[in-house]
Subunit: 320 residues, 2 copies
Amino acid sequence: MPPRPVDVPALVSAAREGKPRAVARLISLVEDAHPALREVMAALAPHTGTAYVIGITGSPGVGKSTSTNALVAAFRARGKRVGILAVDPSSPFSGGALLGDRVRMQDHALDPEVYIRSMASRGHLGGLSWTTPQAIRVLDAAGCEVVLVETVGVGQSEVEIAGLADTTIVLLAPGMGDGIQAAKAGILEIGDVFVVNKADRDGADATVRDLRHMISLGDRTEPGLWRPPVVKTVAARGEGVADVMEALDKHQGWLDSSGTLQQRRLKRAADEIEAIALAALRARMGDLRAGHGLDDHAAAVVAGQIDPYAAADDIVAQLR
Amino acid sequence: MPPRPVDVPALVSAAREGKPRAVARLISLVEDAHPALREVMAALAPHTGTAYVIGITGSPGVGKSTSTNALVAAFRARGKRVGILAVDPSSPFSGGALLGDRVRMQDHALDPEVYIRSMASRGHLGGLSWTTPQAIRVLDAAGCEVVLVETVGVGQSEVEIAGLADTTIVLLAPGMGDGIQAAKAGILEIGDVFVVNKADRDGADATVRDLRHMISLGDRTEPGLWRPPVVKTVAARGEGVADVMEALDKHQGWLDSSGTLQQRRLKRAADEIEAIALAALRARMGDLRAGHGLDDHAAAVVAGQIDPYAAADDIVAQLR
């Protein structure tokens, strides 16, 4: 069945006006790798680049949804339009409709200035690195001044999220992630702001101390480099959220003044371009294979008429 | 330090005469991804395509080296020149010199008609799929009528070996791999000949029965398809080796008469070409990134002047 045709200009225009259904449809096009996606991205491009992208990662059980919820409330109190992408790296399914994740984000589900979307990262086109930046682009163009990308810290996803975000918040809970564990997991390198949630539990101060100690040992304490703060919260009661907001403000200021924001965004764009280019090349290689270009070369290699390098050169030339 | 220059015509000519040092040096060039490799492969191409490639895989402890040893003796008794590649997928190091693996293959280490080489599969250019086919090509051109590729059945390596070999032998031992375990591990699909080694141990007959039962449930029992035999051996005493040789002869005959040999070799060549082409494209992408081609595009994307798809198109065009 061919994909449903899309009136891209109308859809983009509706999304720019903030119409939730249009935003939802555009993110679905991203998830489905719809043929209209190129046209969509071309139409969105001039309207992107203003959103402040915050990544939130942490192990299961540290209170990511609750913390995200609390941050959304804080940004809403400042009058910001907020987009939320909840990326589940373990799920092979996409999570469904915008405004649909009412259970997890019930405080904001009916707020027209909040866009909530669950996404699977393991789509047919690969991980976080492919679909998430495009979904961010959609929310950015839809006028979201803040985009929160929440993902479970499993495997590589937390490193990937740090590559996508302007600021990465690493959430921990007492006893779950002390400093050495954090160092082992590699999160000391990716966190811009560390938040020890559930700080009313035993061991919270020890976790904070451990983290600060490990951070002090890292190379991020050189002059001019950002020294990640460690903030305590009890997100379920809203405690410490103002401190997190202050840390985010400071980090955003540092990103701007140090030129790091532009550096990170350039790197992110380069990664995205590279991923798309490689996917395009792979797809063309697949077309060649489905046709007879590669088969003929394989036959010549088997017959000893050419070597595989010369055959590969020809194939690369045909990709033009 | 630039790589040592190579006199490719002299080396290829010496390897074709069967000089072990020349063969060893060519395989080292493969492992090192030496710049002269393209020239080497072009010079070897007309002399390849005659070797019968046998893959041998199985879990640690089933007796792979002993079985390989016994098969080498059997092929030597037929007067065949034999090449052996022992691929260790877990080792980051290459195993060293031809004729060097005397402990494992001591029966044949001094036989001038036997070439033994240990290889690491996890080189800087990736797995089995990259270096092993080229090493096979070297041994093929050096006049080896039989090339045995031995690898531990861990993770994907046994599936990869099946993609490289004309005939794949799956080794099991009693109690280590019953039929259901084999089915789970996916080896029922890849084995052309199943060998239950250490058949003097308890449970050998049960393992054979289980395997035969599982094979009878598979789709390989349709008319015209190869039905993998299950053979018992005690390789350490040479028992059953003649039966394995008979099974190999039958499979080789079937490969020929059914056209499967050509099909497998075509697919193998196509895979190899594709891997080389993708590696070349990636390398060129890296060059672009190291230069400024990608950076300029990234800046334009960040500024909203173009979208990442259009940027990727330009990058792909520049790869020509």
